[in-house]
Each structure stands twice: as C-alpha cells, then as structure tokens.
Amino acid sequence: MEKFFSQSQEYLPFLFQGVTYTILVMLCAFALATGLGLILAFMRVSGIVPLAWVARTVIVVVRGIPGLVTLYYIYFVFPDFGIALTAVQAAIIGLGIAYSPYMAEIFRAGIEAIDRGQTEAALSIGMHWGLVMRRVVLPQAVRVALPPYGSTMVMLLKDSSLASTITVADLSLQGKLLASSTFENTTVFTLVALIYLAMSLPLTAFNSWLERKLRRS
C-alpha cells in the first residue's frame, strides 16, 4: 500500500497529461454527437418521408459499425481520399459520429413521448414547426431524455479510450506506455481506473442534480 502511494506520486503527473486529452476528446465528441443526434432526430420526426428515411438509414448503418472501426476508418482510410486529420481530430469526429445514432434515438424517444395534444395546442395558436419544437416539445422532451442522455455521456467518457488506438495520448494510452516502461501494471492500471471513475462521478452527480432541478420546475 505504501508502495502504491509513493509510486502514485511519481506516476500521476504523467497520467494527468493524458487526462487533458481524454476530457478534450470526450467533450468535443459529446457536443458533436449531440448536434448530429438532434439533426437526425428532427429528420426522423419531421414527417417528411425522404428525410425520415435518410435519418433511419444513417442510424442503422452507423450503429452497426463498431466505434473502433469508425475511428480506424477516419484516421487510416480518409487520407486515401485526401482527407488527412490529426489523431485528436479523427478521434473527436469518429466518436461524435459513432455516438450520434444513440443520441438521435434518445432525442426521438423524448420528442415522441410528448402528447400529440401539446403540438396541436401549439399549432392552434399559430406557431410554426420550429417554435413548436423550441417552446413546447423540446423543453418537455428534455426531461424524458435526460437520464439516458446522462448515461450516454458517461459511456462516451469511457469509450474515449478508443482514441488511444489511433495514437491520441489520452489517459489510457499514457497508462499503457507507463505500464510497459515500468512493469508496475497493478499500480498503473489501478490509478487509470480510479481516474476514469473520478471523472465519471461528477458527471453522474451533475445529471442527478439536473434531473432534480427539472422535476421541481
């Protein structure tokens, strides 16, 4: 135990360098996945058949491909088509795309959970579609979507470790490098696991707080 603590002091600064990338990739990919997910969800509920069909196809295709393969594809295959991205850019875009179908389905479920009468009442006072969504449907859908949305955020935090496979020096890659140079597997990977956990707990707490706040209003 004493050894663990003394080694920790030595290893943590190196691991924390990786934390920066983990947080960067996670937050950017999450924002991208949220944006893409919202667009896909709006397309699906738009009532415009071709749009809904395109969205459904994108969701099925992207969801059927492992995130790891999506990352490989963007990082290793795109350059063949003249699109060369840095590892961090590829990780953010890849994870953002890979997570967008889940986001889309979460948002769609939230939107569809809202009673049809709400939309009708909003239309009946002359609102256009965008206003119906912004003022009436989405504020209510958020409450329905928030719990799965929060879990997805935690999942994405953990899956950001996939970025290490395309050379992003995130927490997991730093851990692997450290472990292979020191052979202190137990200490290093315990620390890596604890740091991931320490990052996910505030996310979970933030979500519970937000849910409580929304339920009150």
């Binding site: 009708e120 239309l123 609102m127």
Partner: protein, 244 residues
C-alpha cells in the same frame, strides 16, 4: 361577411368518408353548437376549420381566406380562430399566466408587458385571478379548461372553436366552464361548440347543427332542432340523450 364558411366539405380517412358534403356558415357574434353521436365527425369537422386536419373536397373559408393546412398561411388563420380542446392541452411546463401569454408574445410578437397585463385580466375574467402562477398540474380540470379558454382569448380571435370542452371534466366541474362560455357568448364572441351538453346548446346557441355519420342532417334554432326535430335520426339521437 361570414366569419367561417364551409362549402360542400368532404373528408375521408383512407376509403372511409367521415365528412360528406357539409355546408354551413357562421356569422359574426353567432354561437353554433354541433351535436351528434360519437364518431359522427363533429370533432374532425372542427379540426378542419383551423387546419389541424386536412380535407379532400369542398372549401373552408375563414374571413375570406381559404383554409389549407399544407400552406404556411394557415398560421395566420389559426391566430384568428382559436381552439379549446377536450383535454385542455395546456403547456405543463409553463404557469397559467405563461400559457396565456405564450401565443401573443412568441407568435404575434406583441410587447411583453402589455401581453402580461392583458393575460392577467383574462385570467381574472375566467375567475382565476388567484392562480396566475400555478402550473397546470396544480389546477383542477375545470380550472385548466378555464386557463385554456383564457389562452384562446389571449390571441384576440375572431372566433373560438370548442371541441367537447367539458367532456373530460368531472360532473361537478362542468358548470364553471359552461358559465365562462356563456358569458363569452353574451359578450358577442363568435363560437363553434362541439358538445354533448344539450342544456347549454338550448340556452346559449343561436343555431344547432346535428351531424350523423358525417352528414349534416338538420340545422336550425335550438327550439327547432332540439324541440321539434324533423329528421328521424335527430329524433332518435335526442330520445337517447335527453332525459325523458
């Protein structure tokens, strides 16, 4: 000019025709009650008037403008013809006051302060001056429906469509909603009311329409339609709904 005019309106869901060749008009200040058995197309007809449903034949004209739910101009018509729903459909995440102010502020872009002042007056007028800041879940059904009426009035409409406004209410709450509607009628509001409340129709309506199977079977003054119905289907319906 009529506020609302229907000319030979037809509507079908698939092959099933739910409204067959219905024509009538509503004049300014008139209260028209539409009665008839469940499934007779009453609510559908009402929903066609403000474009919540499309129709396949004939024409609906509101203030000289043809109603077409697929065109964006329908929004202008909806601001002039408000709707009150059977299940209230208040926005649950907004207070009573915000529900009333929503349309004027966000659709008609009227100044906030004016809208809130007017919305407060409207809520007071429907007897909810003390409940301005309550959320719909904190209100009884009758109170919610009165907020919904205030919301409809907030748009300063030329006419209000009521879709069975008391059917979802507990019996003891029906009276408070009907009395608000009665006072609106007295003040000259143009109203089209789909209802099962024969007493209300008899006292308040200028004209009663009896719809059965999507067909406008009979229309006339309450005395004529409810008192001396000419058509066998009207007679049969009234025998079933009116206490002997």
């Amino acid at each position: 000019m009529s506020v609302i005019e229907l000319k030979h309106v037809r509507k079908s869901f698939g092959t099933h025709e739910v409204i067959s060749d219905v024509s009538f008009s509503v004049e300014p200040g008139e209260v028209v009650c539409i009665i008839g058995p469940s499934g007779s197309g009453k609510s559908t007809l009402l929903r066609c008037i403000n474009g919540l449903e499309t129709y396949q034949g004939g024409e609906i004209i509101v203030h000289g403008e043809s109603v077409d739910a697929t065109k964006s101009r329908i929004r202008g018509i909806r601001t002039r013809v408000s709707m009150v729903f059977q299940r209230f459909n208040l926005f649950p995440h907004r207070t009573a006051l915000e529900n009333v102010a929503e349309g004027p502020i966000y659709v008609k872009k009227e100044p906030r302060a004016e809208v809130y002042a007017r919305s407060r007056e409207l809520l007071a007028r429907v007897g909810l001056g003390a409940k301005m800041d309550a959320y719909p879940a904190q209100l009884s059904g009758g109170q919610q429906q009165r907020v919904a009426i205030a919301r409809a009035l907030g748009m300063n409409p030329d006419a209000i469509l009521f879709d069975e406004p008391t059917s979802a209410l507990d019996p003891e709450l029906v009276g408070e909603v009907l009395s608000v509607m009665r006072s609106l009628a007295d003040e000259g509001m143009t109203m089209v009311v789909v209802t099962h409340e024969m007493g209300f129709a008899r006292e308040v309506a200028d004209r009663v329409l009896f719809l059965d199977g999507g067909v406008l079977v009979e229309q006339g003054s309450p005395d004529e339609v409810l008192g001396r119905p000419q058509n066998a289907r009207t007679q049969d319906f009234l025998r079933r709904v009116l206490p002997a």
